[in-house]
Symmetry: C2
Subunit: 376 residues, 2 copies
């Protein structure tokens, strides 16, 4: 296995594109990522495409029909919320193996046309859940309550995650929402699944992101400096715990352990983290799951602003799923876009100054967890 | 990239399992393939799962819930009819890369519960097409007519493919159908899309197949001799041809060229071929696309029995898609099962004696083509 570098990244602004379709959204992200890398489709040797809700519809090949068919291998993948990041790992593997020198990952989703997921009201904007029925809000509400019981974490502490991530998103022109919300706004919003109110649940949306990964030699030619230090994918471990609801913690802990082993870095080396804040409670849990703080310290961490922009370890400076949005297939590749942008110093107003190592984390229940550690 | 060996294979009999579900069918194939390899789930380091019609439903992980969750990376893939063979290529890549020593590919589909695909009658047994509407019968009917016009190929010659493959399947206990059909039966059956009658179209069905691939060192330990000489995946090339219907030939020709380059063998070295006979016309076209004969000679080839069991180059001794069946996600892995069985001398009554090199070919329109060349 050889080193792999990120040569180009792009995402389109997450939001609503009712007049467009999935291949069209994906194609725009692909063309922007190629332009960013200084490459064309003729240079790409393999494409991995992730689109959860059209997983069987040859999305990768349909994107190629728009950007240029060259006969390359195309793999369409699906892995719940980790669909896009699984596509990224496919591209990484294709290059790390030595089989290909340039591979492209694209993630795309169009949820706006699907109507409301998970029942709930009729606003068409935010829903009580991102996948299927009300299972996800229940799982992450329950997990949050368990944290409250064990460590005394408060409703206000969870709510502060939503305040922080919405504030972060005001600096991100590609975020679905770009408005601040106050702590009282969050706490007084409609309750979805205790303790998560409406602003503490990610919205549905449309979006696409793409990343080009290359061999060390290509990276030298292109001047690409961002290296993939680890690309980890895990599924549910065997457990003898009496599972009444999915275990949202162990998956991430196992993946993190593998990531540190592989990358040769630890949580203290991270300059920024994009983690899977599908619900505000999830972000708090993942501080501990990723080792950003000790057990039971996540509430204190958010209180003290350690994970805010400018803090000790900024988390979700993009706005996170809560405000940037969560078009499922696009999310994992968008995480790569975000971390890469900071490591290259191209993140604009939201730049984490001097960032050298960053981590992107995605968890899909059912289950798949990806952790990608990038460094310069 | 290092050599990869097939250590274990299995398929369940294709047919109808209305009382079972997709994870259950897949789990049975996985357990049989592991048993065949002399391994357990604890030895498997990566799983690639292919199930087209449940591509977004975490089929790989749901199979692990039945056979043993071990936390391994699971990738769910979809690539039209090439879904299973794409899963196989994922497993091959995982081992060839050096990242993993043991990887598992599983392909599964349950079409019997989906009702009739492609409209047509109400028998529930055979339908006029395998994917979506009547597009596929039209494409392969048209392509057959073009061959008739160019080379004088006859209806009878196409029909002989169905006679041959049904006859082959009488020796295959895992085939969906195991009955012979006469030439007149085929010619006089209900016309689906000229020149293909009902018996010249593959049925829908349920099924599953699995394959375990391993590193050279593991292969030595396990006594596995069957080596992957090439695992090729291609998509539609750029073309300036005025395409009114998909081009069913170029995809395979491009993949075949890459396969010969990679495997270091040519069509004359093949002892058996499992090719994608979704329609009888397709098999005739692929004789030429795969270089089994010269241009325009495919009609003569079937007349002279060259592709029958015992002939110069037996094609679809399993019964092929036409009689063995075509549960989409399972088909590509079932091709690996078939070729491997012959190379190991374990194909029972249908054994091609002394087989040293075999090829499995799958084509999915939209598009993906896989060619796997195996040898001992």
């Amino acid at each position: 296995m050889r080193d792999v570098y990120v040569a180009g990244v792009a995402m389109i602004r997450f939001g609503r594109y009712p007049e467009r379709d999935v291949p069209d959204l994906g194609a725009e992200a692909v063309l922007l990522a190629l332009q960013d890398a200084g490459l064309t489709m003729r240079d790409v040797e393999l494409m991995a495409a992730g689109c959860l809700f059209q997983a069987n519809a040859m999305v990768g090949q349909r994107i190629l029909q728009e950007v240029g068919q060259t006969g390359i291998p195309v793999v369409n993948v699906a892995n719940a919320c980790a669909t896009g990041s699984t596509a990224f790992r496919e591209a990484w593997m294709a290059v790390a193996s030595g089989e290909h020198d340039v591979a492209l990952a694209v993630g795309v989703e169009q949820m706006g046309k699907m109507g409301l997921l998970g029942g709930g009201g009729g606003s068409g904007i935010r829903t009580e859940g991102v996948v299927g029925s009300g299972l996800m809000p229940a799982v992450f509400g329950q997990a949050g309550m368990e944290h409250m019981r064990k460590y005394g974490t408060t409703r206000e502490q969870f709510a502060k995650v939503a305040v922080k991530n919405h504030k972060h998103s005001t600096r991100n022109p590609l975020s679905q929402y770009r408005n601040e919300v106050g702590l009282d706004d969050v706490l007084n919003a409609r309750m979805v699944a205790y303790p998560n109110t409406l602003y503490m649940c990610c919205p549905t949306g449309d979006g696409a992101a793409a990343a080009v990964v290359v061999s060390p030699e290509k990276a030298r030619q292109l001047g690409a400096k961002v290296k993939v230090l680890a690309s980890i994918l895990t599924s549910d471990p065997w457990t003898d715990r009496d599972l009444t609801l999915p275990d949202v913690n162990t998956l991430t802990r196992n993946a993190a352990k593998q990531a540190w082993d592989r990358a040769g870095v630890g949580p203290d080396d991270l300059d920024l983290v994009e983690l899977h804040d599908c619900f505000a409670t999830a972000e708090i849990l993942h501080y501990e799951n990723l080792g950003l703080c000790g057990e039971g310290e996540a509430g204190r961490m958010i209180d003290e602003g350690e994970t805010a922009h400018g803090g000790r370890i900024p988390v979700n400076v993009s706005g996170g799923l809560l405000s940037k949005g969560h078009p499922l297939g696009a999310t994992g590749v968008a995480g790569i876009f975000e971390v890469t942008s900071h490591l290259r110093g191209s993140a604009g107003e939201r730049q984490v100054e001097g960032a050298k190592v960053g981590l992107s984390h995605v968890i899909g229940l059912g289950s798949a967890c990806t952790i990608n550690v990038l460094g310069v």
